[in-house]
C-alpha cells in the first residue's frame, strides 16, 4: 500500500517537474513578439500642442512601453526607451521602467535627445511620474508590496520621491516631510503619499495626495521646507492646469477602487465632474487650460475641463500622455 502510494507520488513528481520545465522552456524560447507592428495610432489631430505617449501592447514585450511622439496626427518613434510611465518637460524626462534584469524597477532620467543621463533604482512598481515645468524637479510614486513574507502578502503602500533632475539625486521623500492639518502636527502609521503635481510658476511648491484612515487628502507642500499641509479631503492624483488655477483629480466613488475625474477651481473652490463617465485610474495631464488628457491603460482620450462635451479618442494603444509645449517638442527633434 505504502509503496504503491510512493510510486504514484514519484510519478506525479516526475510529471510535474517535466510539465513545469516544458512550459518554462516553451515560454522562454517561444516567439515572444507578435508579428504585427501594432504601435500607437493617432486618432485625432491636436492643434498647437504635441503629446508624448508610451505604447500599450502587453503581449508584445518588444514594443510595450516604447516612447512615441504624436505631432499633427503623425506618430514618430522616439529613441529606444521602454517605460511603464513617462514624463517630460523643458529638456528633462523621467522614464520609470522594468530594469534589464526583468524583475526589478528603475527610473531613467533622460535629456532632450532621449539619452539616459541618470539611472535610479526603484523600490516598487512604477505608479506616477511628473516633471516640474522648468525641468528642475521630477516626482515619482512607486507601489511597495507591504510584507510579502510572513503573511499579509497583498497589502500595499506607496513611496513618493522628489528628484533633482540635473544631478539625479533625491531631493526629498514625502514620507519624511512634516505634515500639518488645521495647524496641528499630523502623523499616522498608514500615511501614504502619491501623485505629485508641481506649481507651474514655482517648482518648489507642489500638490499631492495623502492617503490615511480611508481619507484621501489634497496636500500642498514645499520641497525646500520639507513640509506639507492638508487642504481638503477626497482628492487623489491632483494635476494643476498650466495657468495654475485649477486642479484635475480622481474622486473615489464610495469606498471602492473606482474613480470619476473632476476639476476643482482653486480660487472659488467650485468643483465639477467632467464628461468622462467611466472609472479612470490615471493622473490627468492638461493639454491646455481647457483640455484634459488621460488614459484607461489602453488608449489616450481627451475631454473638455469645464464638464461639457464628450470624451474623444486621441491616441489608440497608448498611455501616459505628456503635453509637449512647442518649445519642448522642438528640442526633442
Amino acid at each position: 500500500m505504502a509503496s504503491r502510494n510512493g510510486k504514484i507520488l514519484a510519478g506525479i513528481v516526475v510529471l510535474c517537474v517535466l510539465g513545469a520545465g516544458a512550459y518554462i522552456a516553451y515560454a522562454a524560447l517561444g516567439p515572444s513578439s507578435t508579428t504585427t507592428d501594432a504601435r500607437p495610432e493617432a486618432k485625432a489631430v491636436l492643434a498647437g500642442s504635441d503629446v508624448m505617449v508610451r505604447a500599450v501592447d502587453p503581449k508584445n514585450p518588444q514594443l510595450n512601453g516604447r516612447v512615441y511622439e504624436v505631432e499633427d496626427g503623425e506618430v514618430h518613434h522616439d529613441g529606444d526607451l521602454a517605460c511603464e510611465r513617462v514624463y517630460y518637460a523643458a529638456g528633462h524626462g523621467i522614464c520609470m521602467a522594468i530594469a534589464p534584469s526583468g524583475v526589478d524597477y528603475e527610473a531613467k532620467i533622460f535629456g532632450p535627445k532621449m539619452e539616459t543621463e541618470h539611472t535610479i533604482r526603484l523600490t516598487g512598481l512604477p505608479s506616477r511620474a511628473r516633471v516640474s515645468r522648468d525641468g528642475r524637479y521630477g516626482a515619482m510614486t512607486v507601489f511597495v508590496a507591504g510584507d510579502s513574507y510572513l503573511g499579509n502578502s497583498t497589502a500595499f503602500s506607496t513611496r513618493t520621491y522628489v528628484v533633482d533632475m540635473a544631478s539625479g539625486h533625491t531631493a526629498g521623500q514625502l514620507e519624511q516631510f512634516k505634515v500639518t492639518k488645521d495647524g496641528q502636527p499630523f502623523d499616522a502609521i498608514d500615511f501614504n503619499f502619491w501623485g505629485i503635481t508641481f506649481d507651474p510658476a514655482d517648482s518648489d511648491r507642489f500638490y499631492a495626495t495623502l492617503g490615511t484612515g480611508g481619507h484621501h487628502y489634497l496636500v500642498e507642500g514645499s520641497i525646500s521646507g520639507q513640509e506639507m499641509k492638508v487642504l481638503r479631503d477626497g482628492v487623489e492624483c491632483p494635476s494643476l492646469s498650466p495657468d495654475g488655477k485649477q486642479v484635475a483629480y480622481k474622486s473615489r466613488i464610495g469606498d471602492e477602487t473606482r474613480w470619476r475625474l473632476r476639476v476643482l477651481d482653486l480660487a472659488t473652490l467650485e468643483d465639477h465632474a467632467v464628461a468622462e463617465e467611466r472609472s479612470i485610474d490615471d493622473q490627468v495631464e492638461w493639454l491646455d487650460d481647457d483640455t484634459l488628457a488621460y488614459s484607461d491603460e489602453k488608449n489616450v482620450y481627451t475631454v473638455p475641463a469645464d464638464g461639457s462635451g464628450e470624451p474623444e479618442l486621441l491616441v489608440a494603444d497608448a498611455s501616459s500622455p505628456v503635453r509637449l509645449s512647442a518649445a519642448s517638442a522642438r528640442s526633442l527633434q
Binding site: N5, G6, I8, L9, I12, V13, C16, V17, G19, A20, Y23, I24, Y26, A27, A28, S32, V56, P58, P61, N64, E84, I98, S101, G102, V103, R121, T123, L125, P126, S127, F143, V144, A145, G146, D147, S148, Y149, L150, G151, N152, S153, T154, A155, F156, R159, Q173, Q176, D187, A188, I189, D190, G213, D255, E256, T257, D281, D296, E297, K298, S319
Partner: protein, 422 residues
C-alpha cells in the same frame, strides 16, 4: 560531561547519531512540512508577481487587490474554528485539510484559465484565503497527533521552518522564471499550479490520516459533539491558555508595523525595506527547530515567555533616541527569534493539553483567538500612533506587553498543571 574519546573518528559518528536521534521527528510531520512548503512556494510565487501582473498586463491599481484581501481575512479567521470542529466531528482531519489545500490548488488552475480580469483575480485571492482558513486547524491537529507529547515543540518547529522556507523560495522561483521568460506571467501561474498540485499529492499520498495519537474510531465512542467542542473553552486548562493567548496577542504589534516604525526611526534607504522581511524570515527559519528542541527540553512555557520578552526588547529599541544599522539587524534577529519561540511553541503547548478527540477544534480556537488579537492590536497601534505619535504608541504597547507577560505567567503555569481526575 562526555568521556574523552581516544579517537576523533570514533567520536564523530556518535555525536552525529546523538544529534539525529535528538531531532526525532515523525515522518508524518516532515511530510506535512513538505506539503506546507510546496503550497507556500505556490502561493508566494503568485503573491510576488500579482501586483506586477495587475499593473502591467491588466492596467489595474494594486490597491484594488489590497481592499479585496482585507475583506476576506476576517472571514478566514472564522472558517478556522468551523473547519477545526468539522475535522474532529467527522474524525477526518486529513480529509478536511485536503479540502483546504484542494481549494487553493483549484484557485491556481483558475488563475491560469481565467486570470485576465480583475474580478476573477479577486475571487481567486478570496478562494486562496478561505482554503488557508480551512486547512490550518486540521493540519496542526495532524502534526500534533503524529508527535509524541514530549516532542511537540520540535515537531511544530520543523513544520514552521519548512513552511517559511517555502515562503522564501516562492519569490525566488517566480523571479527566476520571469528572468528566463520576460513578461510571461502565464509561465509563473502554470508552474505555481504544479507546485500546488504536488503539495496536494504529498498530502493525499504520503501523509498518514490516522497517526499514532489519533483517537480510535472503532471503539464505539460517539464523535465529539458541538457542545463538547464549545465545552473546551470551559475546561480550566484550555481556558487559561486561550486567555493567555488573547492578552499576549492583543499586545503584540505585527511585524509589518514594526518595520515601518524602524524605518521612521533610522530613515534608511527604502531599497533596504524588503531586506527586513528576508532577515527576519531567515532568522525564523533557522531558529524554529533549535528553539523547538529547547522548548521540549527545558519547558515550553519559559521559552514562549522568552519569545515575548524578545518582542519587548524590540519595542525598547524603538524607544531609543537613535538606532544604528547594527542594532537594526539585532532587532530583526530578535523578531525572528520571537516568531520561532512563539508561533510553533504556542501550538505545542495547546497540543499537549488538548484531548486527542478535540485537537483540531482546540487548535482552531487558538489560532482564531491569536489572529483576532493581532488584528485588534494592529488597529489599536495605528490609532495610538495617530493620537500619540510613534513613541507614545510604542510606550503604551511596551507597558501593556509587560503586563500581559506578567499576567500570562500564572495563566500558563496553571495550564501546565495535571488535570483534576475523578
Amino acid at each position: 560531561m562526555y568521556q574523552v574519546e581516544a579517537s576523533k573518528a570514533l567520536l564523530k559518528p556518535k555525536l552525529w547519531a546523538r544529534r539525529s536521534a535528538r531531532l526525532n521527528v515523525p515522518r508524518n510531520v516532515v511530510m506535512l512540512g513538505m506539503v506546507s512548503m510546496l503550497t507556500d512556494v505556490s502561493s508566494e510565487m503568485v503573491a510576488t508577481i500579482l501586483p506586477l501582473y495587475l499593473v502591467f498586463s491588466l492596467g489595474a491599481s494594486p490597491l484594488a487587490l489590497g481592499a479585496i484581501d482585507g475583506t476576506y481575512r476576517g472571514a478566514a479567521a472564522l472558517v478556522q474554528v468551523i473547519s477545526g470542529f468539522a475535522a474532529d466531528r467527522w474524525r477526518r482531519p486529513k480529509q478536511v485539510a485536503e479540502a483546504g489545500y484542494g481549494i487553493s490548488a483549484v484557485g491556481k488552475v483558475a488563475l491560469v484559465a481565467a486570470g485576465n480580469t480583475i474580478g476573477g483575480i479577486g475571487a481567486i485571492v478570496a478562494f486562496d484565503r478561505i482554503g488557508k482558513g480551512i486547512r490550518t486547524a486540521p493540519r496542526d491537529a495532524l502534526i500534533s497527533l503524529s508527535s509524541s507529547k514530549a516532542g511537540l515543540a520540535t515537531a511544530f518547529g520543523v513544520h514552521r521552518a519548512m513552511d517559511s522556507a517555502g515562503a522564501m523560495l516562492g519569490p525566488l522561483i517566480a523571479f527566476g522564471i520571469l528572468l528566463a521568460a520576460p513578461a510571461r506571467f502565464d509561465a509563473v501561474f502554470v508552474v505555481s499550479t504544479f507546485f500546488a498540485v504536488l503539495g496536494l499529492a504529498v498530502l493525499v499520498l504520503a501523509v498518514q490520516g490516522r497517526p499514532k495519537r489519533a483517537p480510535r474510531v472503532d471503539d464505539g465512542t460517539p464523535p465529539p459533539s458541538l457542545r463538547a467542542a464549545l465545552g473546551l473553552a470551559r475546561d480550566r486548562r484550555v481556558a487559561v491558555l486561550l486567555l493567555a493567548a488573547a492578552v499576549l496577542s492583543l499586545t503584540s504589534v505585527s511585524d509589518a508595523m514594526l518595520y515601518v516604525g524602524l524605518q521612521r526611526k533610522i530613515d534608511f534607504e527604502p531599497a533596504v525595506f524588503p531586506l527586513l522581511y528576508v532577515i527576519t524570515a531567515v532568522a525564523f527559519m533557522g531558529l524554529a527547530i533549535p528553539v523547538g528542541q529547547l522548548a521540549d527540553r527545558v519547558g515550553r512555557v519559559p521559552v514562549l515567555l522568552c519569545g515575548y520578552a524578545l518582542l519587548f526588547v524590540v519595542y525598547g529599541a524603538l524607544l531609543m533616541s537613535s538606532l544604528g544599522y547594527g542594532l537594526l539587524v539585532l532587532c530583526l534577529l530578535g523578531l525572528g527569534g520571537y516568531f520561532a519561540a512563539t508561533e510553533g511553541v504556542f501550538a505545542a503547548i495547546a497540543g499537549a493539553i488538548l484531548p486527542e478527540e478535540l485537537q483540531a477544534s482546540g487548535l482552531g480556537m487558538l489560532t482564531t483567538v491569536t489572529s483576532i488579537g493581532n488584528l485588534v492590536s494592529s488597529v489599536a497601534f495605528g490609532a495610538l500612533w495617530l493620537a500619540l505619535g510613534l513613541r507614545g504608541a510604542v510606550l503604551v504597547f511596551a507597558v501593556a506587553l509587560a503586563l500581559a507577560i506578567a499576567a500570562a505567567v500564572p495563566l500558563l503555569l496553571r495550564s501546565q498543571r495535571a488535570p483534576v481526575h475523578g
